[in-house]
């Protein structure tokens, strides 16, 4: 089972579908094996800059 990171957004991108805008070449038979890719979070929710975060900048973050 694939693990879900705490930094991944809930799946709001909709169900996984084949890219209907894609064209296949003759002989294109990829295995249909969908895999979820939860969108990652890279921006803080805060709208104001947290100056204390500067102090935490290079401290490695680990999770229990």
């Amino acid at each position: 089972m694939m693990e879900t990171s705490e930094f991944a957004r809930p799946a709001t991108d909709g169900p996984v579908v084949h890219n209907t805008a894609a064209e296949a070449g003759a002989g294109w038979e990829p295995p249909s094996a969908p895999l979820d890719m939860p969108r990652q979070v890279l921006e803080n929710e805060r709208t104001t800059f947290d100056w204390l975060s500067v102090a935490r900048l290079f401290r490695a973050r680990t999770r229990a």
Binding site: T4, A22, P30, P31, V41, A64
Partner: protein
């Protein structure tokens, strides 16, 4: 199971700490010399600026030297055993994302790698993921794909898919495949259109991923091949001769939070899927929108999710092609510049390892430092011109005059020290290569020394020109100009003087005006500025001259005398395709000519 960010080993911590301390120490010495020189006639704002600028720029140079220093010590005699592939062979796909590439060359490389992989006993799938938007190029790709299937009998193992909506560019292209077909594969090898890899290399990479279930991504050090021009061959030589040592230093410093360079690497599909779906950043490009330099971010995200990311300089049989002239290099560099500066938005991204943030910072500094060097030159001129006249009687009632102390020796020593930071690591690598015997792969020690000297001379001449291109790129990005992702200029070679002049006339102007202004304001500064000003004025000649083909015995690399089998096969296949046909119909030559047009 929740994974922790891979912790660095005590050895890695020690190497990092030592490198940072030494770099900061050298930067402090440089800053102290400049500050002391400035204080002889009163320490003012300009002296302060110069001191700060020389601290940062020298620190950056010193950091680069530390990478070489960290990589010089030979690894322990007991060579790590290369793991064997455990059967059954895990299902692996080779992904080749392309966009407006030379279809014949790209698919020929794939053909060479397909045969090489089969000979290595592998049954890999290969997926060509096209984002080509131009309809004519798309038709050429389909034709080349059909030829490939016919030549290899690879139907059912080699696939071709073209997206008409290239959202997210290369990262989105790969993501689309992983979302639709990733569940069928355990590993994915990610290549560029100009990548080549030996079948045995692919086998070794898969085996290493099998041997370490915590390894999320393994990056090889691709060697540049097929360079023809002076510029291209100089880069090829530098990458082949210096690259392994610098990369070994990088390995030792990065530990398990290593780099991803976007190609010639293998990923664990499940790890990539769970952690590497990149978001669009808020706001507009160049700082918002899709993440341009996605590879560094993907490496950071894999580490955040607790996977190891490693680079291994010892894996042989991984190749790529490089730019053949300064303008192609500058075009590619513009995209990398924007991508790295965009990482400013990610310095505070939640949950990243401290070292990942430091890697982003390094990427940002790699480009900003050109602006800082240029600023240092301007501030130095300003400081000299605006310096107050000497005060011979600083103390009242003093009968005897006090002459300002001459700091020329110290500043000369500083200049020599800075040059030393650039050259000494390369000399160190040369001595190490002579001691270990590696030098003989490149020719005699004398020939290699000559190649090294010429490479240093060429890079010294081109450095001011590259600096100006980077300064322009940085300023464009900070002023909000989005450079996007222009088509790769693979195989572009000879640049005529007029074309070089059109591209670099502004550099000539800046160099000429700068030297003239320095002469007018303070003639004594001119000798110090000549090493920067003269190459800038000669930029069109340097760009054109360095783009000319070079067939000299200098800059020889092992791959030129003894090409790797997959490279040799690719060249043979291309040569056969480029022969004019005697029958009717579209010849491969015509196909390639169309692609070139």
């Amino acid at each position: 199971m929740i994974r922790q960010i891979p912790a660095p080993s005590p050895k890695t911590r020690a190497i990092r700490a030592g490198a940072v301390l030494l770099a900061l120490s050298l930067a402090s010495v440089a800053a102290a010399l400049v500050a002391e020189a400035g204080a002889t006639n009163g320490f003012d704002l300009w002296d302060g600026l110069r001191t700060v600028l020389i601290f940062v720029t020298t620190g950056w140079l010193a950091w680069g030297a530390m990478l070489a220093l960290s990589g010089l010590p030979q690894p322990s005699r007991a060579r790590k055993q290369v793991p064997q592939l455990v059967v059954p062979e895990p299902r692996t796909v080779v992904l080749v994302p392309i966009c407006n590439e030379d279809a014949v060359a790209t698919f020929t490389r794939i053909e060479a790698m397909y045969h090489s992989a089969n000979e290595a006993g592998l049954t890999l799938d290969i997926a060509v993921l096209s984002d080509t938007q131009d309809a004519a190029n798309a038709e050429r790709e389909k034709a080349a794909f059909a030829e490939l299937i016919a030549a290899t009998g690879g139907a059912g193992r080699i696939f071709y898919r073209r997206r008409t909506d290239n959202r997210g560019r290369k990262a989105g292209n790969i993501e689309e495949f992983i979302r639709n077909s990733g569940g069928a594969y355990e590993f994915a090898v990610i290549l560029d259109a100009d990548s080549l890899m030996e079948g045995e290399t692919l086998r070794e990479m898969i085996a290493k991923m099998q041997a370490d279930p915590q390894l999320g991504l393994l990056q090889t050090l691709p060697r540049i091949v097929s360079a023809h021009s002076l510029f291209g061959r100089a880069m090829q030589f530098a990458a082949s001769f210096h690259g392994p040592i610098f990369t070994r230093g990088l390995e030792r410093m990065q530990g398990n939070t290593g780099p991803f360079w976007g190609h010639n690497a293998i990923v664990r599909v499940r790890a990539f899927a769970e952690s590497c779906a990149l978001p669009e950043l808020s706001g507009k490009p160049p700082f918002g929108g899709h993440i341009l330099s996605h590879d560094y971010v993907e490496a950071a995200l894999l580490a955040r999710a607790g996977w190891k990311v490693q680079v291994d300089h010892s894996i042989d049989g991984s190749f790529e092609e490089g730019p053949e002239n300064v303008l192609s290099y500058a075009k590619r560099d513009r995209r990398w510049c924007q991508g790295n500066l965009q990482h400013i938005r990610l310095l505070w991204a939640p949950g990243l390892a401290g070292w990942s943030r430091f890697v982003f910072l390094q990427g940002i500094l790699a480009y900003v430092v050109s602006l800082l060097w240029a600023s240092f030159l301007l501030v130095s001129i300003a400081a000299t011109v605006l310096a107050p006249p000497p005060d011979y009687f600083p103390e009242p009632y003093n009968l005897f005059p006090v002459f300002p102390s001459d700091r020329t020796k110290e500043i000369t020593a500083l200049a020599i020290g800075i040059v030393g930071l650039l050259i000494l690591p390369k000399l160190g690598i040369l001595f190490d290569a002579i001691r270990s015997g590696r030098v003989h792969k490149f020719g005699t020690a004398g020939k290699v020394f000559s190649s090294l000297l010429l490479e240093i001379l060429l890079s010294s001449l081109l450095a001011p020109v590259m600096m100006m291109f980077q300064v322009r790129a940085v300023l464009q990005v900070f002023l909000g100009r989005d450079g996007g992702w222009p088509a790769n200029a693979r195989g572009e070679g000879l640049i005529h003087v007029w074309e070089a002049f059109r591209a670099s006339a502004w550099i000539v102007a800046v160099g000429a005006v700068g030297l003239a202004a320095a002469y007018y304001l303070s003639a004594g500064l001119v000798p110090w500025l000549l090493p920067v000003g003269v190459p800038m004025i000669a930029a069109p000649l340097l760009i054109a001259w360095s783009s000319r083909p070079l067939t000299h015995t200098l800059f020889r690399v092992p791959d030129e005398d003894h090409p790797s089998p997959v490279v040799a096969r690719y060249r043979a296949l291309m040569a056969a395709k480029l022969k004019p046909t005697t029958q009717g119909g579209t010849s491969p030559t015509q196909v390639t000519a169309d692609a070139a047009a």
